[in-house]
């Protein structure tokens, strides 16, 4: 089994399964914090998918996207936690 | 042949705006820069107009990338006329604003944004690239959003939200249409599109695309039933802002419609009929609205809607004479509608209200000013030989000559009549009628102003009034101009040749 096939038929489906599971949590909630961490995890797995995809297509360019994702997803989480605290304060 | 002169009216506004941002909060300096800058741009626009008039077409391939690969700027007589008009209206409103806009608004960026708006307008007029046009439209939209809500009073915000929402919807339609256009042709250059669209076999799809453009631009030009944002919002910002909006914003939509529907799409029978039907309803809707509104600026807003109907109707008829009428009307309308709102600004300054029931006595208090305003009002009505009259001849003529356009003619008659009536009624109420006694307490902010300041408010009105008198009395010039533009619009081959630099034989 070549690397590409392995990635395509084994790794990617597993990652997709993982994302779907996390997405399930995102949609189910129940609380907003659950959604936030689900979102965070989805982005993180997204980084993984992009990484695998860049290996598959031999395009290292996509790793740049992975980098940006890694850097900025953090801001989103911080913003959400900020929201939650502020909302509580009110 | 490439000529950098074309983008001078664009760059100048951008440079002025940047300069003004450097002088953030320096109210007095900003006033001077802005007025001088507008003057400069007007000069440049005149230059551009003369150059274009002589040569027919000027092009500038930005970045020196030959069309259709780069972004092309084209100045034909039509666009240079529009730039010229924008320059005139811009200068007038700019002068007016330097006194008519409170210093707070100036401190918070009124002038830079004003120039950005004009920048957007000039860009939209001069670009030869459909996506670039979209971008310019966004400049116009965002600066108008800002101007609309500058100050943040509740009515402004209320109007602003409707304005913003519906205009964004228009942008989406525009973008959708651009997407489809690209999907069909792989090109964005309008001249190139003109050729490539003609080659597409699936005419139905081409027409659908045209329809999408119509919907996008239709919202911006406030045609029925896409006009709602206009009467919701135009009465809310300060008059100077309303003036530039009323004069130019809807017109740029019409400009785009004219461009797109002459260069890229040729209206098929359905589109023509639809345009005429829409025009009819626009005329009527605007007229009905104008009849009942007692707030002057609201009434003017409805009149804007109403008169857009003439323009769209002329486009629907699609003969050279009808297009000439549209152009003539456009020229007249830009000048007069701008002035109309400036006049309302002065009235507001004097009386502190726009409600006609509360207004009155202006004729007795300000006879000379009233006379000046009368010129504006009756130009709008089109009392011959004032400016609004002449284009109607073209439009009526073509309306009668076009088969099955009688309803449009009826609507035009009704619209003309209603305009006459509401303006006369307004004249009777605002100028003739005595001022209601209970309103006497409201102070007149105009009379106590320094003579110089008053002059600053009046001069632009005079300028534009002279312009509209010129349009009326020297109608020959405007008629020649309109006919030339209409001929250009009908025969696009020279335009395409000027842009693409090669001889084109259109099927």
């Amino acid at each position: 089994m070549s690397l590409n096939n392995y990635l395509f038929y084994v790794i990617l489906p597993m990652l997709c399964l993982a994302v779907l599971l996390v997405a399930y949590r995102f949609f189910k909630g129940p609380s907003i914090v659950d959604r936030v961490i689900a979102l965070d995890l989805m982005i993180t797995i997204g980084i993984g998918i992009i990484t695998i995809y860049s290996i598959m297509t031999k395009q290292s360019t996509f790793l740049d996207d992975a980098m940006i994702l890694a850097l900025i997803a953090f801001l989103g989480t911080v913003a959400f936690s900020y929201y939650l605290e502020k909302k509580e304060e009110k | 042949m490439t000529d950098n002169y074309i983008i001078l009216p664009i760059i100048a506004h951008l440079a002025i705006a940047v300069l003004l941002i450097f002088f953030w909060r320096k109210v007095q300096i900003q006033r001077y820069i802005s007025v001088l800058g507008s003057l400069l741009v007007l000069g440049l626009s005149i230059g551009l107009f003369i150059k274009t008039w002589r040569t027919g077409y000027l092009t500038m391939q930005a970045g020196n990338w030959q069309a259709p690969f780069g972004i092309t700027f084209v100045s034909d007589v039509f666009s240079s006329t529009m730039v010229l008009l924008a320059g005139m209206a811009g200068l007038a409103v700019c002068i007016f604003s330097s006194v008519g806009i409170s210093r707070h608004r100036i401190q918070y960026g009124y002038f830079p944004i004003f120039h950005f708006l004009l920048l957007g307008l000039n860009g939209a007029f001069l670009t030869g690239d459909i996506f670039n046009l979209y971008v310019w439209f966004e400049v116009i939209i965002i600066s108008s959003f800002v101007l609309m809500t500058l100050g943040g009073k509740k009515p402004q915000i209320e109007g602003g939200i409707k304005y913003v929402t519906l205009n964004l919807l228009a942008s989406v339609m525009f973008l959708t249409a651009v997407a489809i256009l690209y999907g069909l042709t792989g090109s964005l250059n309008m001249a190139d599109l003109s050729l490539k669209m003609a080659e597409i076999d699936n005419r139905g799809l081409v027409n659908v695309t045209g329809l999408l453009f119509f919907l996008g631009f239709g919202i911006k030009s406030a045609v029925f039933p896409l006009y709602f944002w206009l009467p919701s919002s135009y009465h809310t910002p300060p008059s100077a802002i309303a003036a530039i909006f009323g004069g130019l914003l809807t017109k740029v939509g019409v400009y785009a419609l004219l461009r797109v529907f002459t260069l890229i799409f040729i209206p098929d029978e359905f589109t023509s009929t639809m345009l005429m039907a829409v025009a009819t309803l626009t005329l009527l809707t605007g007229a009905f609205g104008a009849v009942i509104k007692r707030n002057m600026r609201m009434m003017f807003s409805y009149l804007i809607v109403c008169h857009i109907g003439y323009l769209i109707g002329g486009l629907g008829m699609y003969t050279q004479a009808a297009l000439a009428g549209v152009i003539f009307y456009l020229i007249h309308d830009i000048i007069v509608k701008t002035n109309l709102f400036l006049v309302s600004g002065i009235i507001y300054k004097i009386r502190g209200t726009m409600n006609m029931d509360k207004l009155g006595g202006l004729y007795a208090d300000y006879p000379k000013l009233s006379f000046l305003m009368a010129i504006v009002f009756f130009s709008l009505v089109g009392i011959p030989p004032l400016s609004g009259f002449w284009p109607k001849i073209y439009l009526f003529q073509e309306g009668l000559a076009t088969p099955n356009a009688w309803y449009l003619v009826v609507a035009m008659i009704i619209a003309s009549f209603v305009t006459l009536y509401v303006i006369a009624k307004m004249w009777a109420d605002v100028f003739w009628k005595d001022r209601p006694a209970e309103e006497a307490a409201t102070e007149d902010d105009f009379a106590p102003m320094k003579r110089y300041h008053r002059a600053v408010l009046i001069i632009p009105v005079v300028m534009l009034a002279i312009a509209s008198l010129y349009i009326g009395f020297c109608a020959e010039h405007i008629a020649t101009l309109s006919q030339r533009i209409a001929a250009d619009l009908k025969d696009t081959a020279p335009y395409i040749k000027a842009v693409l630099g090669r001889e084109i034989i259109k099927p």
Binding site: - | G63, I71, R105, P112, G186, F396, K433
Partner: protein, 767 residues
């Protein structure tokens, strides 16, 4: 010629600018303008006898509109009336409005009006004519509303403008149509295509529009009612505009176009019927009135009806009669108005039930009034007699229904006679009441003008030849007919004379039997609800109500309903176009990328995220779900080879979330409004819209795309533009201008955000 027309405009400007000098004594000097013009036109008399004079100046040649003037008999007659009566009215007004605050404006309007009227009658180009036509309407508006603090004045001026202005637009349409059919706007040129026009399928429409203009201006039933209302204007104005000149513009128009369009059954029948109804209706009304100006107004309408009626008869005799009657009526009616003005001015009332015996205190005025009244009655030796004779002759010799027509004419004349006597004689007859003892003869500027007019009427009546060759014959010629016979005082004993006798006898009898009384007026007022005026006012109110309903219905302040309407409109149009114009097909098998598991995953998540965005009741969840949609799109961008896009979309989505979060925490929870109906309706609308867009996308995808441009970029990005990331090269070089504009957008947005957050305007500032 052009200077003759323009001098009035110029003068108006001068008056406006140097108004304060006009207000005092020098006011009477304004008379010099009409006087000199009168002299000028008088000098033209001999020249016009043979053939019309043409004057041409270029104005808007590219629209076929030039300053073409033509002085023929018809226009000369009107010009003389305009300037002649103008002279007298200018003089009269200088005393009548002595010391009025706005005397300067008055003269401004008046000279504007005079100039417009001159232009109107001299134009040889329909569009030019229309220009002046509208100017008369608008100056009339200003003159009727001259006493603008009076609400009735304002209302009536509006009414007059509405009717004449509305008619004006019809006329314009007619002219445009005429111009289109005839291939030009020149009236002279139209003469040559008269036959073609009459045979054209649109002849009826031309007439419709033309009559629309003429009837409204000349106050034909049912558009007559603005004219009595117009009497709110100062009396000199009424005399000038609303009796002698402007209202005759419609008649002038009809006369002018008789050679072009006349002679057709449509033409004649319509004019006859309209004229006849107007004559009878207004004559009847005239005798019910007690207000001097009311009486005169209605009798004016009757006269206008008569003129239209005569044009409708259409024979050469009728033309001659019309020509003479124009002059007759102008002379006596203007005189009567001026007299009425004097009475009003001196006694303060215009009520004929009160005014009595004033001959004792103002004999010259009484003389003027009496002469004018007699002329209007058509007593022998007055000009009116000749006029009436001609009318009867014309009706008797009419091609059809001669007796009926004659009957109508006689009846009208009896009533008009009565009305004329009421206005010109009754106030001076009888005993002078105590109250009027102090009344005295006014300044000669007031009483000389009517006297001149009335005397002229007598003069022409005694020596008809004076008017005949120089004035009447050229008119008849201009109307395209050959004058049957010279004017004579005495035709011998014939039916016409008998009719005249009957008219006079009946009229006198009526005068002595029937005293003016407010009761008559009241009797008429009972039918006011059926009068055309009421109908018009009612329908205007209905129109306004409808407008209110329509406008508020559509523009109800509710953003959502706007979006609804817009989207429905878009959907309907697109759907129609797609169904009718596009051959829908799609071949699924060719040229599509296979669907992979990650595609499906992303797609599935997007769907769920969208669902969540729509269905959640928590704002923050909606925002979070929306950002999921955005992130998934990023992944799609990555998968489909757009790394730059993915980056940008991702950063911007995150920033948008941050922005939302910074704003949202203040807001309460979502409103829970679960109106099922609304939701279902909205879903259907938006669903349809989405389906349409999808179909369009599908169809466009089927079309082959031309990749010429993108190939150029691919091949030249590095070689010419020295960059390897083609997208970025496009952004900064190939299409750098877009980027330039794009950052400008951002800058504006930032400025807007800043000012929106920081600026608070106090509501006291008036901008």
């Amino acid at each position: 010629m052009i200077s003759a027309v323009l001098s009035g405009f110029l003068f108006a400007m001068l008056v406006l600018l140097f108004g304060k000098y006009v207000k005092g004594k020098p006011a009477v000097l304004t008379t010099l303008l009409p006087l000199s013009l009168f002299a000028y036109f008088l000098g033209m008399l001999p020249a016009v006898q043979t053939q019309p004079l043409l004057f041409s100046y270029r104005w808007i040649p590219s629209m076929g509109i030039d300053l073409n003037f033509k002085l023929d008999g018809l226009s000369l007659l009107f010009s003389l009336l305009i300037t002649g009566i103008g002279t007298l009215v200018f003089a009269y007004a200088s005393y009548y409005l002595k010391g009025h605050r706005y005397l300067d404006r008055f003269y401004c309007y008046l000279s504007l009006f005079m100039a417009s009227m001159l232009g109107l009658v001299l134009s040889d180009n329909v569009m030019l004519l229309f220009v002046f036509w509208e100017l008369t309407s608008i100056t009339s508006f200003f003159l009727i509303g001259f006493n603008n603090d009076d609400p009735a004045s304002r209302r009536n001026s509006l009414m007059a403008l509405a009717i004449t202005g509305g008619g004006g637009f019809l006329l314009m349409t007619g002219f445009v149509l005429l111009g289109t059919l005839a291939g030009g706007y020149s009236i002279s040129a139209m003469l040559s295509s008269a036959e073609m026009l009459k045979g054209h399928a649109w002849y009826g429409w031309v007439l419709f529009f033309l009559f629309g203009g003429a009837f409204t201006k000349s106050a034909q039933f049912p558009f007559h009612f603005w004219l009595p209302g117009a009497m709110k204007a100062p009396t000199p104005v009424s005399a000038y505009l609303h009796s002698a000149t402007m209202v005759k513009a419609g008649v002038y128009l009809l006369a002018r176009f008789t050679p072009v369009l006349g002679g057709h059954p449509y033409w004649n029948t319509t004019l006859l019927i309209a004229g006849a109804i107007t004559m009878l209706y207004s004559a009847w009304h005239a005798i019910q009135r007690t207000d001097l100006k009311g009486i005169l107004a209605y009798s004016t309408i009757a006269a206008l009806g008569t003129l239209v009626f005569l044009l409708g008869v259409g024979t050469a005799e009728a033309m001659a009669a019309a020509a003479v009657f124009i002059l007759v009526h102008a002379l006596y009616k203007a005189a009567l108005f001026l007299v009425a003005g004097i009475l009003d001015h001196e006694t303060g009332t215009r009520d004929v039930t009160i005014l009595r015996g004033l001959r004792k205190v103002m004999l010259p005025v009484a003389a003027a009034g009496m002469l004018a009244a007699l002329s209007s009655a058509g007593l022998p030796l007055t000009f009116g007699f000749i006029g009436k004779d001609l009318i009867y002759e014309a009706t008797l010799h009419a091609p059809a229904y001669g007796y009926i027509l004659t009957g109508i004419a006689v009846l009208t004349n009896i009533l008009v006679l009565y009305a004329g006597f009421q206005a010109g004689i009754r106030p001076f007859a009888g005993r002078l009441p105590e109250g009027f003892r102090s009344v005295h003869l006014p300044d000669l500027r007031l009483w000389v003008p009517p006297l001149i007019l009335a005397t002229l009427g007598l003069l022409y009546g005694m020596i008809p030849a004076l008017a005949d060759a120089s004035l009447v014959q050229p008119v008849v010629q201009a109307l395209g007919a050959v004058s049957p016979a010279p004017l004579k005082i005495w035709h011998g004993f014939n039916v016409v004379l008998l009719l005249s006798g009957v008219t006079l006898a009946a009229g006198f009898a009526l005068y002595f039997i029937r005293m003016p009384s407010a009761r008559h007026q009241l009797a008429v007022d009972r039918f006011a609800s059926l009068s055309p005026e009421t109908l018009v006012v009612r329908s205007a109110r209905g129109f306004s109500r409808f407008s209110t309903w329509y406008t508020n219905r559509l523009h109800n302040g509710n953003l959502r309903s706007y979006v609804h309407i817009i989207i429905i409109f878009i959907t309907v149009l697109l759907a129609y176009k797609l169904i009718t114009g596009v051959h829908l097909y799609f071949d699924i098998r060719t040229n599509v990328a296979p669907i992979t598991v990650y595609d499906l995953t992303v797609f599935g998540i997007i769907l769920f995220a969208i669902w969540k965005t729509v269905s959640t009741s928590s704002r923050i969840t909606a925002v979070a779900s929306m950002s999921v949609v955005g992130y998934c799109i990023c992944i799609l961008f990555v998968i489909y080879s757009a790394p730059d896009l993915a980056m940008t979309q991702f950063t911007i989505d995150t920033l948008t979330v941050v922005l939302f979060v910074l704003v949202l925490f203040r807001l309460p929870r979502f409103l829970r409004i679960n109106d099922r109906k609304v939701i279902v309706r909205d879903s259907i609308i938006s669903g349809l819209f989405g389906v349409l867009i999808a179909i369009i996308a599908l169809e466009v995808m089927n079309e082959p795309t031309n990749k010429e441009t993108s190939r150029f970029y691919a091949e030249n990005a590095y070689l010419l533009a020295k960059g390897k990331n083609v997208v970025n090269v496009m952004l900064v070089d190939f299409r750098g201008f877009d980027t330039m504009v794009e950052i400008t957008v951002l800058v504006i947005a930032a400025l807007g955000v800043y000012s929106l957050l920081k600026l608070r305007i106090s509501s006291s500032e008036k901008e």
